[in-house]
């Protein structure tokens, strides 16, 4: 079955989510709930599909793409990616073919004096490819090994790890240390974004690149193969072998037999690999010339060479290409969309609007079928009062922060309040808070909401505390950081200044944790 999501959709979804991140939450709630009620719910009812998050998100995306890109000639980011990838695939194949055939034609150049050197052929076209495949296999094995275990790696790998860490530290001190803090933070934030994308989408974005390299290799191998066949068919080529090191013909014969093992049983013995006599008969000693060598020995090599290219060059690449297509499809089929921006969007669509005036606006103006009224009871069962959150409030602002205000705000955001913890009193008290968090059950959909003052720069202490919390609550528990403006600036909740916002968002993005989201508290208010 074709996966519900494809690359175009994912790029477009991320584009829209990114765009929405800068819009005030109030208007988003209204818009997304509207889209759900007017377009998604009727469509789901008509087709009888179950309201799964993936399907709802997909429908939302279709609607947004239609309204944003449908009427214009502008390609959506997703369409742009798809187009570009298609072109690149073709380009890789053509470039591979071109260079492969050029290499093949140049290599099989025989003017009647010096036969084509078999050992050089094996070295350049076969062994090098086998080496690349082995490296690929090895890196995959290491990755599997690292994924499974966290401690006690083999000594060699530990040393490698230590060296890498040292190199990173050195780089941080000597290269990053010289950068302005702003550039340093931006760089860290960009790396964090990549890390975050990996956590949401896994290896999804690796496969398109891998596919391109496979296509390049397929093209190159096909090119060499075609050039070889072309030369063999259209000109007479003599193959021979030579070496300064005096190794014997039987030794080479053994090596050739091993190389030919994969196909030897499917072909007659002389075709699968040259016989010992043929090998002995095709040894070249330059000072003696080739006149005395028998022609049947000199041409005995070609089926072996073609089979080598096919089995060690073209077929593995085709296998890898098909495997990466499969992996890509598997990744697409397993997408969960649990990261906060997507989860927030789902919540906005599925949470009934609290204002009474808003509902009529959402009614369609057309005479089409009336959308089924929202089954508020059913939603209440699914989300009793919204996602529960445990609120962490710094000791400094705990006394001045009014609980009533907090409850109002949580209700507005579709959260339900499960408890409040006072933190940042001192280091020891914060340890106790971590212990208290450890006691909680984080299996459900409960999240954590942290209130922070935007005008206090995010310290390493806070960022590492966040990471400690993350380790306790599990990788996918949402953590919401709500920023407060400077208290004296205006009565009530002051807005977050742009500079402070930038500093915070860079630091939080640099954590590379897609399940931590940062919001200004002020904008959530009407």
């Amino acid at each position: 079955m074709k996966p519900l999501w494809n690359y175009k959709d994912i790029f477009d979804l991320e584009y829209f989510l990114h765009k929405d991140a800068t819009l005030p939450a109030g208007s988003l709630v209204q818009r997304d709930r509207g889209i759900y009620l007017r377009h998604i719910e009727p469509a789901l009812a008509a087709t009888g599909q179950s309201p799964e998050p993936r399907i709802i998100l997909r429908q939302w995306l279709e609607y947004r793409s239609r309204t944003e890109f449908g009427a214009t000639d502008i390609l959506s980011p997703g369409a742009l990616f798809t187009e570009a990838h298609r072109t690149l695939r073709l380009l890789c194949l053509v470039i591979g073919l071109f260079f492969g055939s050029i290499a093949g034609l140049t290599f099989f150049n025989y003017a009647g004096t010096t036969p084509v050197n078999i050992l050089a052929f094996l070295f350049f076209f076969i062994f090098s490819q086998i080496a690349v495949l082995l490296i690929l296999l090895l890196s995959w094995l290491i990755r599997c090994l690292l994924r499974g275990r966290t401690a006690s790696l083999p000594l060699g790998m530990r040393i490698m790890g230590n060296l890498t860490a040292k190199a990173i530290l050195w780089g941080h001190r000597n290269i990053l240390g010289r950068m302005w803090a702003e550039s340093r933070d931006s760089l860290a934030a960009s790396l964090g974004l990549l890390k975050g994308a990996r956590r949401i989408y896994g290896s999804l974005f690796f496969w398109p690149v891998f596919i391109l390299t496979q296509l390049l290799a397929i093209g190159a191998n096909a090119g060499i193969l075609a050039a070889t066949l072309f030369r063999i068919l259209t000109s007479d080529i003599a193959f021979g072998w030579q070496s300064t090191v005096q190794f014997s013909a039987p030794a080479l014969h053994r090596l050739i037999t091993v190389i030919a093992a994969p196909w030897s049983r499917f072909f007659p013995e002389d075709v699968a690999s040259p016989s010992l006599t043929a090998i002995e008969g095709s040894r070249i000693i330059l000072k003696d010339g080739i006149a005395h060598l028998a022609t049947q020995d000199l041409v005995a090599w070609w089926p072996f060479l073609v089979l080598c290219l096919l089995v060690y060059g073209l077929l593995p690449r085709m296998f890898l290409y098909l495997a990466s297509l499969f992996m890509q499809r598997r990744c697409l089929a397993n997408l969960t969309f649990a990261h906060p921006p997507a989860a927030g969007l789902l919540q906005r669509m599925l949470t009934p609007s609290l204002t009474t005036q808003a509902a009529p606006e959402f009614r369609p103006q057309t005479t089409g079928p009336e959308p089924a009224p929202v089954d508020a009871a059913a939603e209440a069962v699914r989300r009793p009062g919204g996602n529960p959150v445990l609120v962490l409030i710094p000791d400094d602002i705990f006394p001045v922060f009014e609980m009533q205000e907090l409850h109002e705000f949580l209700a507005q955001r579709g959260f339900s309040h499960v408890g409040t913890i006072r933190f940042m009193e001192d280091y020891e008290a914060d340890r106790e808070v971590l212990e208290a968090l450890r006691e909680e059950n984080w299996q459900g959909n409960c999240g954590i909401l942290v209130l922070m003052e935007s005008w206090m720069p995010p310290l390493v202490a806070f960022l590492s505390y966040l990471q400690e919390i993350r380790q306790i609550v599990g990788t996918e528990t949402p953590i919401f950081i709500e920023l407060l403006g400077r208290p004296a600036a205006s009565p009530g909740l002051a807005p977050v200044p742009e500079g402070d916002w930038l500093v915070w968002s860079r630091k939080i993005t640099a954590l590379g944790d897609p399940f931590i989201s940062l919001n200004p508290l002020r904008e959530q208010r009407p």
Binding site: W180, D396, E425, P457, P458, V460, A461, V503
Partner: protein, 469 residues
């Protein structure tokens, strides 16, 4: 061992700004992004080739709570527990910044703790203060209000009383020379051992400042001399009747004077160690106006009272020139100068110009067309006022300030609209007039004597401007 003072505090509170201003070094990295400083950087105070004191800039505290928690578990004297802490923190990557910032304290440095007084006191601040108290080193707190708000000042001061020997408000963005000296003097009081060294530094700073003022006064006098004696002569052939050519001549005369002025200003700027700041002054500043702009002259010329003083003193020497100058101002100076030459050409009908013809300092004679020297004393006062204004802006642009592009006009306290000489007493005006007369008469003996007087007077004026808070 050279005494060392470490500037410490929370990230982004203006430590580097304070240091940059104190050390008059605008190469210190200052930015609105927290965490700009990642390594300690030392700024030595060298007097006669000998390092007598050093200031050290440090990164901000990143884990005050954890540092304090560890320090409490350690025993020993202040310096000893810091050494133990740094040893213990060596393997904890998160504490890298905190470890680095305590390095000068381990070496025995005194502490200037910088806070942003425009925000409220928080737990992390109390933890930092407690850490500094545990170090046992002499320490002083500086309240550097980044915003104009001062409502939290009192609560900061109360906190400081618990763990600091002294505290001062010092705005790194607006600190004048006088405030810098006051801060240094205050440092003397927090540790008796420091008194002789810091006393020496203060004296050296004061002498250095006086020397800079002396050079500046000399530069201003040289500029006045060059400008007021400047003349431009070209051969007046047939084409000289071409009005456009005459206007060009006036333009080039004005440009030359502006060039002399600008060079002198740059030399003054170099005196005060400004490398980046280059007068992106608020648009309304008179310094950004053209020297020959009508407005410049109106604002910086002489007051009615001063004109009366000059009129009584020198009569004709000033009179005629001033009249023309003021007529020129009403029409715009370019028009006046250009028009004067053009009109003259028309009256004389292309005949050779009389040797005695002179308008507005432009002597037109024979086959030579000569402009200058300017015979209006107004130019002297305009140039003088502009030089003093330039000096005022230069010394009051704190080195820790980096908002070159966006400097708010409201923060500009320069008396642009008045001119420094507006309220000068008659004695000073007399010295200026005597100097102007000496230049006109080209009398070297009296010029030398009067220049000495002017130099002394300008040094006093510069010091007065420096002392303004």
């Amino acid at each position: 061992m050279t005494p060392e003072i470490a500037i410490m505090g929370h990230p982004n509170e203006g430590k580097s700004s304070v240091l940059s201003t104190l050390a008059e070094d605008d190469s210190v990295r200052v930015s609105p992004t927290p965490g700009e400083t990642t390594q300690c950087r030392t700024f030595p105070v060298v007097i006669d080739g000998r390092e007598v004191l050093r200031f050290t800039d440090t990164p901000g505290f990143q884990n005050p709570g954890r540092v304090l928690s560890i320090l409490k578990t350690l025993s020993g004297e202040g310096g000893e527990i810091i050494r133990k802490f740094r040893e213990q923190a060596r393997i904890i990557a998160e504490l890298a910044d905190d470890r680095e910032l305590l390095l000068p304290v381990e070496r025995g440095a005194g502490i200037i703790y910088v806070v942003d007084g425009s925000r409220p006191v928080r737990n992390v601040d109390r933890e930092e203060m407690e850490i500094l108290r545990l170090t046992g080193r002499p320490r002083m707190a500086i309240i550097n209000c980044k915003d104009q708000e001062e409502q939290h000042l009192q609560s900061w001061k109360e906190e400081f009383r618990k763990s600091f020997n002294a505290n001062r408000v010092f705005n790194a963005h607006r600190a004048t020379y006088a405030e810098r000296i006051l801060l240094l003097e205050a440092l003397q009081s927090i540790d008796q051992d420091w008194q002789p060294v810091i006393g020496q530094v203060v004296t050296a700073f004061q002498r250095d400042w006086a020397a800079r003022n002396q050079v500046t006064a000399g530069l201003i006098i040289a500029m006045l001399r060059d400008c007021l004696r400047f003349r431009l002569t070209v051969a007046a052939n047939e084409e000289s009747q071409d009005r456009r050519r005459e206007e060009e001549l006036v333009r080039s005369f004005n440009k030359s004077l502006a060039g002399i002025e600008s060079k002198a200003h740059q030399k003054i700027r170099a005196q005060f160690k400004h490398h980046i700041f280059n007068y992106q002054l608020p648009p309304r500043s008179i310094l950004r106006e053209d020297l020959f702009n009508e407005r410049t002259w109106q604002i910086l010329g002489l007051s009615r009272r001063q004109l009366a003083i000059l009129g009584g003193l020198s009569g004709a020497a000033v009179g005629a020139g001033l009249d023309v100058a003021h007529a020129g101002l009403s029409m715009g100076l370019y028009a006046a100068l250009g028009g004067a030459i053009g009109a003259l050409g028309a009256v004389l009908g292309g005949e050779s110009v009389s040797t005695s013809a002179s308008f507005m300092g432009m002597k037109l004679g024979g086959q030579q067309l000569q402009i200058g020297p300017v015979n209006s004393i107004d130019l002297l006062f305009v140039l003088l006022n502009r030089a003093l204004l330039f000096y005022f802006h230069t010394i009051n642009w704190a080195h820790g300030r980096r908002d070159y592009e966006t400097a708010p006009a409201a923060g500009d306290r320069a008396p642009d609209q008045l001119g420094f000489t507006r309220h000068w007493p008659a004695a000073r005006i007399r010295i200026c007039n005597a100097y102007f007369k000496a230049l006109q008469q080209d009398n070297d003996t009296s010029l030398f004597r009067i220049e000495q007087e002017l130099q002394e007077m300008l040094e006093t004026v510069l010091m007065e401007i420096s002392q303004r808070e």
